[in-house]
Assembly symmetry: C2
Homo-oligomer: 359 residues x 2
């Protein structure tokens, strides 16, 4: 099995810990290893033939550094996109590289910035998915929902054939409102769209050929060395390709239209960790029902349900509840948990004031 | 005129900016110069003969460093107490040193950590006070109250003799409750006890001799070099004296009992800056009615009336009002303005957990 990790994302939802040059996947949101490193460590026990990490030029150096410690364990290639074009080009590029060497190679696609509590469970599902993928299916992992989440897209599955799956996907649905999400949760045949996929390289490439001909044509121009894994001189070709293709997600470009999609349910304690507010869903809380990361100590006087990320120092809160407090060397955020979505307004204001050193 | 600056205080009310080795007088509570430096700069235009700064051993080195820039302008002596004994021994020691050189020298005693808006006004009052002091009075400055403060002690003055003063002090009163303070404010003859004094060295020493004989006896054992301002070999004598004397304030030890006390009213924009919550009383507020110090930028999204002290970086607050946010390199405080008095509980907790590096 090949593992493709999509690590080129950017975002502001973990500011100030995350910055333009160090987005969520490259930071230690949960103490210890970064999200990218956790993703790699999650698949290493499966002994993948190779790991391909697709990132962008701005983050390539930091990505290489964070991966260095694993190079003695498995071959890792870092592919730097010249600019972001959403997931379809990244997936297509990785598939083309794998197919040049091993056309029927099974590839697992994983986002680099998701949380998974049950790593063993994930690996079991991926092994089952690989079995289905070998027969020419596009397998997507559907997370068994545990709450009426309005922040996720959903997959509707045809579960008339009982068993553990895979199940055909009958519909992709966008983020629902609360009542709709409650209905999905009760129905038992709706699952969170995780963005984790397993398929053969040739399967996805032929689906791209059918459904995204522009991307397919561009990818077909790639020529490889005799040693396909010598990727260092691909940069020029990739830059040329990315200059011609549009931005598109693999969900919209292929998954929602293909008739080869199957879903495997996964109850693995998954979260996309969409903001600081998500931390209490995935981390143990302390006696004050607070979550503390990256801090040597939290002194909580009459403070409950806080989310604290310190700067390896001490954070003292007095008489504040449900507050997000994040400190880095040069920037500080204080924000109620329910206002986490307004972090983008801080970033807009920093841009407006020309304070780019904090972005 | 000699100026004696009492700079040996300690306290926790500006944690985490203030620490045991850098208490309030040695930090930049209001941006720019430290409180001690502001105190020195306030009296420099009066061209004092000398400035004596009384501090303690823990803070002596930092105190010397902060004063270095003024040594070319006026002679400055730093006297390090071996341990804190409240204000009476510090004042007595300074008076003894001055008297050995210039018995009738007028000395002004100023706390190192107070805020004064109207420096010119202060200097005018001190000049008037020096005039009164030359005639053998103990002059204390009474701050014209501008609010029914419950955090200050008050002086009751006999104002039957009209004019600008000085007025006899008829009573010293402890911190009053709110209703009492309102009465004081309306009465017109109550003033805030500022802890600023002017007197001749021989006057205060003879009052100490009458009212604090133990301290007087101890001070009488001091022997000076022929050049009295060569203070470096006084340390041993001071250590011996401090081993024998008790802790006492000059207010309680002398001022409340002496019949030589006169008060001069001072309307000079004074505050003792008792806590972070006092900052809006003395600093201009911004468009969000917030006060920001030590920060390159405050990004305030739906945030009003905050008190922010950053670490030269950016501080972002979203949807929080009336909050104190203080960040230093290694420590962070978040606390509602009305809970500032509970800062001592943070310090207690740090002590309890053995986190002395943050104290």
């Amino acid at each position: 099995m090949y593992v493709v990790i999509l690590a080129g994302g950017s975002g502001t939802r973990f500011w100030p810990l995350s910055r333009k040059s160090r987005p969520k996947q490259l930071i230690s949101v949960l103490d210890g290893p970064t999200m990218l490193q956790r993703t790699v460590e999650r698949v290493l026990p499966m002994q993948p033939k190779r790991i391909l990490v697709v990132t962008n030029r701005l983050q390539a150096e930091e990505t290489e550094q964070q991966l260095a410690r694993y190079r003695s364990l498995t071959p890792i290639d870092v592919i730097a996109e010249p600019l972001g074009r959403n997931t379809a080009p990244a997936v297509g590029l990785a598939a083309a590289i794998i197919a040049a060497h091993d056309p029927e190679g099974v590839m697992t696609v994983l986002p680099a910035d998701h949380y998974i509590r049950d790593d063993d469970g994930l690996r079991r599902v991926l092994q089952a998915a690989a079995h289905t993928a070998r027969n020419g299916w596009l397998v997507t992992l559907g997370i068994v929902p545990t709450a009426p989440e309005t922040g996720y897209g959903y997959l509707e599955a045809d579960m008339s054939l009982r068993g553990e799956g895979p199940f055909p996907v009958t519909r992709f649905v966008e983020k629902p409102d609360r009542d709709t999400a409650l209905g999905y949760l009760e129905s038992g045949n709706y699952f969170w769209n995780s963005g984790m996929f397993v398929w053969r390289a040739d399967t996805i490439l032929s689906e791209i050929a059918c459904l995204m001909p522009e991307l397919s044509t561009a990818l077909a121009t790639l020529s490889f060395n005799s040693d396909v894994w010598e990727l260092s001189d691909l940069a020029g070709q990739i830059a040329r390709i990315y200059g011609t293709i549009g931005s598109q997600s693999i969900d919209y470009g292929v998954m929602e239209k293909s008739d080869k999609v199957q879903m495997l349910p996964a109850g693995i304690g998954w979260s996309d960790l969409g903001s600081w507010s998500a931390l209490p869903e995935v981390l143990d809380t302390d006696e004050q029902e607070s979550v503390v990361v990256n801090s040597s100590a939290h002194i909580a006087i009459d403070s409950r349900r806080c989310i604290v990320s310190g700067n390896s120092g001490v954070v003292a809160t007095i008489g504040v509840d449900d507050l997000i407090v994040v400190s880095t060397g040069d920037a500080l955020l204080v924000c109620p948990r329910e206002r986490a979505q307004d972090l983008r307004r801080v970033v807009e204001e920093l841009e407006k004031r020309g304070l780019s050193q904090y972005l």
